[in-house]
Amino acid sequence: MLEIRNLHARIEGNEILKGIDLVVKPGEIHAIMGPNGSGKSTLANILAGREEFEVTEGEILFFGKNLLEMAPEERAREGLFLAFQYPVEIPGVSMANFLKEAVNEIRKHHQLPSLDTRQFLQRMREKLKLVEMDEKFLSRSVNDGFSGGEKKRNEIFQMAMLEPRLAILDETDSGLDIDALKIVANGVNRLRTNENAFIVVTHYQRLLNYIIPDFVHVLYNGKIVESGDRELALHLEEHGYDWVKNESEISI
């Protein structure tokens, strides 16, 4: 579903990504790991369509379409979802209102009728259970006054509501205690099907104890320097990122 070829990108003249190749197929979970500043979040943001980053080379295909030519909302409507590292607060806009707008925009794109209020409410209640959140939460403003953990769970809740084909989790585990981490992981595992795929961007191995990846890629200095299976993540935990740094410097 996703094919990244030789992706180079920069921000304010600094090259962050220096040739990324990645293929993601339906049903797969890919973990992207790497030290701070390696370009993990940049990659996630470019996939979602953030404008600050300039793609200088390479291409991205999403179900055969040129992703880089699509506006962020088109990407979302085509089924690409980003769970933000720092979810944004939107005061005065209730979760229910916001999600209704989002769900119906996406449905419209697929020529489906809008959900009526009852259907919509029913669906929200169902999905709330997945992240163990209270119904009161629906009348609160988007992320406004949410704790760190609530914000991350809210991202997973939105993912459940929007049912994307490809979800990118950008350091969704950072700042979460173990209980919240389990809730998030459980949400992902229950949403997993043979049709959809996940890219889990993380600094730590910890999350991967709960979300078992099919592939692990190590990003360092704008390049994927290692790819492997889950064992790679465990190896990383044991040896730290210095191991990668040394390896990559030797290989250069």
């Binding site: 369509g49 944004v88 607060e89 939107i90 209102n97 925009e105």
Partner: protein
Amino acid sequence: MPDERKKIEDQQILDKISKSEYKYGFTTDIETETAPKGLSEDTIRFISSKKNEPPFMLEWRLKAFRRWSKMVEPKWAFVQYPPIDYQNAYYYAAPKTRPTLKSLDEVDPKLLETFEKLGIPLEEQKRLAGVAVDAVMDSVSVATTFKKELEELGIIFCSMSEAIQRYPELIQKYLGSVVPPGDNYFAALNSAVFSDGSFAYIPKGVRCPMELSTYFRINTANTGQFERTLIIADEGAYVSYLEGCTAPIRDENQLHAAVVELIAHKNAEIKYSTVQNWYPGDEEGKGGIYNFVTKRGLCEGENSKISWTQVETGSAITWKYPSVILKGDNSEGQFYSVAFTNHFQQADTGTKMIHVGKNTRSRIVSKGIAAGQSNNSYRGLVKVYPTAENARNFSQCDSLLIGHKCGAHTFPYLEIKNPTAKVEHEATTSKIGEDQIFYLNQRGIDKENAVALVVNGYCKEVFRELPMEFAVEAQKLLAISLEGSVG
């Protein structure tokens, strides 16, 4: 060629966005009878006699005119406009249809058509919303509904002209009692030449069972519109009044100088809500309404309450400060405002809360939104007299900027003459966040809807003060106004 088609589509979308022109821009072709151009005692005599007014009214108008002649136009507001030639305008225009109409059947069908275009067919309103509509088109009220039902409760709701004929004692007692003719330049002008408006009187202990509503509409080229509204809630009475305006496109600037007076007696409450959408001028700042309005409420009796809620999206220039004089002990004043400016619009708006009585409270929530090259100012006064023991005020003034060519300004004035007063003021200025927009985009919501969502969220505190149907209308209006403001 798919590329070619996409290009064309993009262009169409762009065109649609950048030319979100005023949607209510059409004129109704109704014959009008106008006073000769210019302003003089003769003009005033013409107006007064056309309206068949009693002598006291003519005297009142002439006095106001003489005051006005000696006054100078105020210059302190943060707005700029070319000098107004008061002698080059018409001061009276009435539809030639018969002004005394008993039912809708007698209303000029063309007028009804206009209302249909506005999406406010009277029949619909009557049936569905349970709103009594006193429709003012240009200067003369042409249709008043629900009158009977209100009459049974002793509620008077009619045009000002009718009130002058039928209730001269109330007019003499209250007209100009809150906004005296010499109050300010535009109020004096209005007092001299006011054409029509609404009058409401809610008797003692009566709770008005429906929202009273008036739709104003400017319809004659070069005719200033001088509305005069007077609402009185007697002891223990309650009324909620809605004022909504739309106006057709005009090239020349049109002067609008309305006066609204509210009087709340002991234990009475008046809620006054406005959605203002006068023609704001085009993208180049050409045309548009000058809206110089004096709105003031008097909390005359103890425990009385007056609340102003306004959503201002229209007019080229807005100069408007709905105020409350808190005279009665324990009385309460509120001001909730959303003022949106785009293109070259200028708004200088806010409120005055004048604390005179003991334990008086006031609350000000102002949300300014500036886009394009517009200027949006909040100007507010909180005045606490020595007599106002334990007065309290809370003010919150927020400004939201869309783009980088617009301006937001806050001019708060405090005059506190009693040491027991508690006055709080909070102010914020923010730019609409790229991050917020991107977040919403990422959830499938396009830029325009994203901005509308963020702005509506920002205004929520004010919108929830509006009656339900009105809040929906206000949100729609804001969304329409926002179109094309996003670069």
